[in-house]
């Protein structure tokens, strides 16, 4: 099998060295200070859930990481390197892939075409369909995806869960190290949610660093190793899932604070940038 190496190889470090570290990141849109001194860490082989109420700054943080726009200030450390990411291409080159909420698949193309969209394999100017189909099959098999009938069926004929699966499979096809999933279960039924969560877990077990944005705490507690809570543009807590209860997470989401846990943010959220915001 020639599945991309990042999927196969389990990295030696098992979660203590962060793959991506953001330190004191700020982002403003005009007068609105959306992200205020945010710290954010993700670890290889782990699922980090990013939660927060509407308007907490989740999307802004993700778009900054994905290079859709640059952060105004703060450090962006990826794989130990201090980098500057200001375009989606740079993020892709680092191995960062984002699976957006609205999927971004082409209904009129089949699964293989969608997996390789924009990065087709060509041989002598013509599409190398055989190679693409083989790699697509290997990737789906590597993710233990067995629910699709034919790899050549149009995406339009897939269920919501299957579409999400294709979108996620696309993100791991390219030696990716960090996969960001924006609300992957938002529109799915119970069985399909389970199917997608399994896939999310499997990505992390293969050594990828996974960021899961979700409003559904059931999902978060089912698959996440760590939980990061954004509250009004500040990182209210970065904790291990095992160390918190559901109620504490709800309090963090709604009030930005809770008693009895180490929020892992060393009080930064309070004093860094909050004052100069307004």
């Amino acid at each position: 099998m020639s599945v991309p190496s990042a999927v196969d190889a389990r990295p030696e470090q098992s979660g203590d060295t962060a793959l991506l570290s953001l330190r004191g990141v700020n982002k403003s849109f005009g007068a609105v200070h959306v992200l205020q001194g945010v710290d954010f860490d993700t670890y290889p082989g782990q699922v980090t859930a990013l939660v927060g109420d509407n308007g907490a700054g989740k999307s802004t943080l993700i778009k900054g990481i994905a290079g859709i726009y640059g952060f105004d200030s703060g450090a962006y450390v990826f794989d130990g390197q201090d980098v500057s990411v200001t375009s989606p291409k740079q993020a892709n080159a680092l191995g960062i892939e984002v699976v957006y909420q609205d999927l971004a698949l082409c209904d009129n193309l089949d699964i293989v075409h969608n997996l390789f969209l924009g990065r087709e394999v060509t041989a002598g100017g013509r599409l190398d369909e055989a190679t693409m189909e083989r790699r697509a099959k290997e990737t789906l098999a590597g993710l233990s995806v067995r629910t699709v009938k034919s790899i050549r069926q149009q995406v339009a004929s897939l269920s919501g869960g299957q579409r999400q699966t294709v979108a996620i499979a696309r993100s791991v096809l390219w030696n990716s190290k960090l996969v960001i999933l924006d609300e992957p279960t938002a529109a799915l039924g119970v069985a399909q949610t389970e199917q997608v969560l399994r896939l999310v877990r499997r990505l992390a077990d293969k050594g990828l660093s996974v960021v899961l944005i979700s409003h559904n705490l059931n999902d978060v507690f089912a698959v996440a190793d760590r939980i990061s809570v954004l509250y009004l543009g500040r990182m209210a807590a970065q904790v291990r899932t095992a160390d918190v209860t559901r109620n504490q997470v709800v309090e963090l989401i709604t009030g930005g604070r809770t008693d009895g846990i180490d929020t892992g943010t060393a009080g930064r959220a309070g004093d860094d940038g909050a004052g100069e915001a307004r």
């Binding site: 082409c106 009129n108 060509t122 098999a141 050549r152 149009q154 698959v223």
Partner: protein, 422 residues
Amino acid sequence: MTTTAPAEQPTSQTIVEPQRGLRGSVQDYVERVRGGDVGSLPAILGLLVLSLVFAVLRPTTFTNSFNLANLINQSAAVIVIAMGLVFVLLLGEIDLSAGFTAGTAGAVLAIVLTRQGQPWPVAVLAGLVTGAVIGFCIGLLVARLGIPSFVVTLAAFLGLQGVLLSLIGEGGTIPMRDETLLALNNDPMPVWLGWTLAALVVLGYAGTSLRRAATRRAGGLHADAMSVVLAKVAVLTVLLGAVTWYLSEERSRNPAVTSIKGLPQVVVLLVVLLVGLNFVLGRTSFGRHVYAVGGNAEAARRAGINVLRVRLACFVISSTLAAVAGLLLASRNNSISPNTGGAETLLYAVGAAVIGGTSLFGGKGKMLDAVLGGLVIGVIINGMGLLNQPSSVVFMVTGLVLLVAASVDALSRKRAASTGRV
């Protein structure tokens, strides 16, 4: 670490697709059609039914080989414009100016050829460049400024009509006298060349099909069974063989004076365009990107496809092919007049693409659609002419056929939506 994720059995089974024989492939096709994926079927049925009707009503005049060659020559320009329109329609856009682009490019060609006395390759090149430039301007306005293509090309439709008038001078025509160009859309090719062409097409098709099946099987992938490939090659051989044989018969009314036999020369051009553009759409990254932009432009953009460039390229291709059609119109009429490419030319071409199975909503269509649809239109015009019907009736019937085709498209879309196909 939380391990509350749902447990599962680790099996590494891949997706298995059974090999389908001839029978299975036919079943698959029937199932696809019933599921709403009708493809070119309405056009093929329409072609058969219309041909039968005219053959019954005008048994001698419609079916003779003279008329068949005539029909191909009549349809050629519409087919070529429709081929270009397929690119634009795949994006979900429209090019209303393609007809007058053909006229304008034809006028430039005729001016360079007749008034300036240049050799024909120079004149043809000038015509093609004219088309490409028109397409580039339209493409820039649509893709960069974001003006709806309907409006831009409607403006171009009016504007180019004026350009054509001023190029020719009011009321006049520009004659064409170059033998090579006049022969292109009027005369037959030698009989041996027709047979060679037919053989090349069959061998080429068989070769690529067999090679693809072989490489796929070597790579352990699902491939068409040998029986299916051979059946397709056999059908193509019989069809092409029959047409070539029929048109290789003497069809001159007075063979002693002039001998007319062989495939029309324009068939070479049509085959080259069909094969070439089919390759571009189906086998290159660019073609794949065209379908992607037509299916979901936002998804294409996020996948790193330069959507603007794809749009621009499609308009340039469409207008350049319209310029080729301008050459055919000039050849057919021996001249360029202010009406060349005007009147119903464009609507016939749009109708051809849609009747062939290209969707007006983008993302669905093939090159063959333009050829089949163009032939349907050609049969209607030709047959109605033989029935001595006034233009009023021809227009009404053509409109009706187009409506039927669009209804088939809409119904199959509905059906497809309910069975989960596009």
